[in-house]
């Protein structure tokens, strides 16, 4: 779901830095953090998004942009479903027919940026007087490129990970609800107490996929999960990685966590559906899952921060931000940049904040986003808190299948030892790192 969703990182940093936070607060009240500008000349653009719900929200934002800032502009907004989005994008790139503006995820950015396929947005942000540091580094650093580390994307949103837990199952097992201070040991204890083989109930399902799964636990040990930033080294065989994976495998071996086969897949959606069905008490899920949980869960539930590693005392979440990018070959670069500026501005992001889905990247709108869920009785602030000690995305497309499916299946389905599975993954990852790193 990194992909579908996205991430967020940065906001956290903002909140974490008191100076910035102080700056942001008055802005939220008075002048906007990012103000849109009128376009110089209308024209036509094609735009791709991969999520239908987003398309609706973005469609409303585009209409407002057309009405208020760029009368006469035309945008052909197309939904290319996630399952074929990247294949289609590559095909269109090959055919010289890229959309002018489209959604990008951090793990895919490298390929397009390193091939000079994207428009440098930094000059446009500079000209509009946008201080890009307002997003915080986690959310946008993965979208920086080139000698000057220019920003090539406007962040759409962020998302972090927390534990969704089924209160009914906690009550039935007589286990106390977790708090933000809980540790891995508390988590293991709860998982054991909640597991009930007779009723086909598992304690936890928290290992699946990059953003929701085991990398969060590796990050909590202080190790950068999977690949060091800058693609210099595979970290899966580091001590912290082995500690985290062995901890999770211990829970799996004890029968507290279901296998990949039993859950039905390596996607965090599979684990989440399992949780919705009442078959597992605790699941790791992203903030993008809130609407679904609110709509579908038939039991009492809440969310809590990921448990803390006992040695480091840290609870860490992977954060991702989906970006808006423009094609380097677009015929209307100024117009494309103007649209992106609007979409990331306070005005444009308001549509996301009000829609109550994913959290808008713009730091001025966090409370509005939380409020959009109304009185759900759920501690949504948890996800914003998770931004404080979050881990940015360092992995990339080419190793995606290896780390998301193969490694997970090897350990949590085929019973391979953590050491063997990690060695196997690193061997492959090393072949995908830049030459100088090997």
């Amino acid at each position: 779901m990194l992909r579908r969703v996205t991430l967020l990182i940065l906001v956290m940093l903002l909140l974490a830095l008191p100076a910035l936070a102080q700056e942001a607060t008055p802005e939220a009240a008075g002048t906007p953090a990012i103000a849109p500008q009128a376009c110089e000349q209308p024209g036509s653009l094609t735009m791709w998004v991969w999520d239908e719900n987003w398309a609706e929200v973005i469609g409303q934002a585009i209409e407002a942009w057309q009405a208020d800032y760029c009368p006469g502009a035309e945008v052909d907004l197309q939904v290319q479903p996630w399952g074929q989005y990247w294949d289609l994008l590559k095909t269109n790139v090959a055919g010289g027919d890229m959309p002018d503006v489209f959604n990008m995820s951090q793990d895919r950015f490298y390929f397009y940026a390193s091939n000079d396929a994207l428009l440098d947005l930094q000059p446009y942000f500079d000209e509009a007087g946008v201080d890009t540091s307002l997003w915080g580094s986690g959310m946008i650093d993965p979208y920086r490129w080139g000698d000057n580390q220019d920003l090539y994307a406007g962040p759409v949103n962020w998302d972090t990970i927390a534990i969704f837990y089924n209160k009914d199952l906690f009550d039935a097992a007589g286990v106390e609800y977790p708090t933000a201070e809980w540790t891995w040991d508390d988590f293991a204890e709860a998982a054991a107490a909640l597991t009930d083989p007779e009723n086909d109930v598992y304690g936890a399902a928290v290992y699946a996929e990059y953003q929701s799964g085991y990398p969060n636990w590796i990050a909590a040990t202080g190790t950068t999960p999977i690949v060091e930033a800058g693609r210099t080294r595979c970290t899966l065989t580091d001590e912290g990685s082995l500690e985290a994976l062995n901890f999770l495998k211990g829970l799996y071996d004890e029968g507290y966590m279901p296998s990949v086969s039993v859950v039905g897949g390596t996607s965090p959606d599979d684990a989440f559906n399992f949780w919705l069905a009442g078959k597992v008490a605790m699941v790791a899920g992203g903030s993008w899952k809130l609407p679904e949980a609110i709509e579908k869960a038939t039991f009492d539930w809440d969310v809590v921060q990921l448990p803390r590693n006992p040695e480091t005392g840290r609870s860490r979440s992977i954060v991702h931000s989906v970006g808006y990018v423009a094609s380097a070959n677009t015929e209307n670069p100024d117009l494309a940049a103007n649209l992106i500026l609007y979409l990331v501005s306070d005005e444009g992001q308001k549509f996301f904040a009000d829609a109550g889905g994913v959290a808008p990247a713009n730091p001025a709108l966090q409370q509005q986003w939380i409020d959009s869920f109304g009185d759900a009785g759920v501690n949504i602030q948890t996800f914003v808190d998770a931004l404080q000690d979050s881990q940015g995305v360092t992995v990339f497309d080419e190793i995606w299948d290896k780390i998301n499916t193969e490694l997970v299946v090897n350990i949590f389905d085929q019973g391979m030892s953590v050491e063997d599975a990690a060695n196997d993954a690193c061997e492959f990852i090393n072949t995908q790192l830049p030459e100088q790193a090997q």
Partner: protein, 311 residues
Amino acid sequence: MLTSFLNWFGRTPLTRRRALWGMALVAPNVLGLLFFFGIPVLMAFATSLQQWNAIKPPVFVGLENFMRLATDPAFWQALFNTLKLMAMVTWAEIVLALIVAVLLNQRLRGRAILRTVYFLPVVTSTVAAAIVWAWIFQPRYGLIGNLLAPFGLGDVGWLTSRDLVLHPIAAVTVWQRLGFDMVLFLAGLQTIPRVLYEAAIIDGANRWQRFRHVTLPLLSPTTFLVVVLSVINGFQIFDQVYIMTARTTRGGVGGSATTLAYFLYQSGFIRSEFGYASAIALVLFLITLGVTVLQLRLQRRWVYYEAGEQR
């Protein structure tokens, strides 16, 4: 070569006119084939000699892609997986289709309905079917898991196991191809003259003998066609692998479910090596062509055409 062409083209105005008409009538088809098949094949050939990631301009690298292919263990594994799948699929598909065709060739209540049922998978979208099959093979909650639970096999991860994953894929492929082969066999069975069966009965041949000595030989042209199609199809197995492993291993643990076509897809669309992917496509094409030519050669040994029917 030239003489035979001239003979065919005709030396008299009448035959020549006829030949021209013939060519005019097939022209649309030939043009379509050239345009939508010939040109892409030529482009693939050109691309196979290049290094190209779809964005940057291609770089000519000669035969490098092919040399890399020869030493790439992933390629040999994909080839081996493909052959293994074909070994499982082809005979099962043909034997089962033949049995079903013979059974449904008799006067039988509900025959038309049964034929339709067997043919349904052919017209069902492979993607939709493969998604349902992936559920069926899900351990514990899937249909197969439930059926096998009494034997202690309820939790077998058919689609995640390195050793088992080709079996469900083969099973779904057979299920999907069966109906098409059955129709071909049914058509073939209709062409066998009844008099031959009557003569065999008079000669005292029992059911098995009639099947073995009348049906099988006279059906051999159809069988040949089915085998050739099945082998070609076998080299192209992709959808089943793509969909059935999409939610778990994407091509099997350690590439254990990766077929040549899936390997091609991975190289092109996941790793953005379109030159390398084109080289794979070309090799796949040559292998398929080679095997098909070989089959055409071998057909003389076992395919029986009725006298007067020159092919």
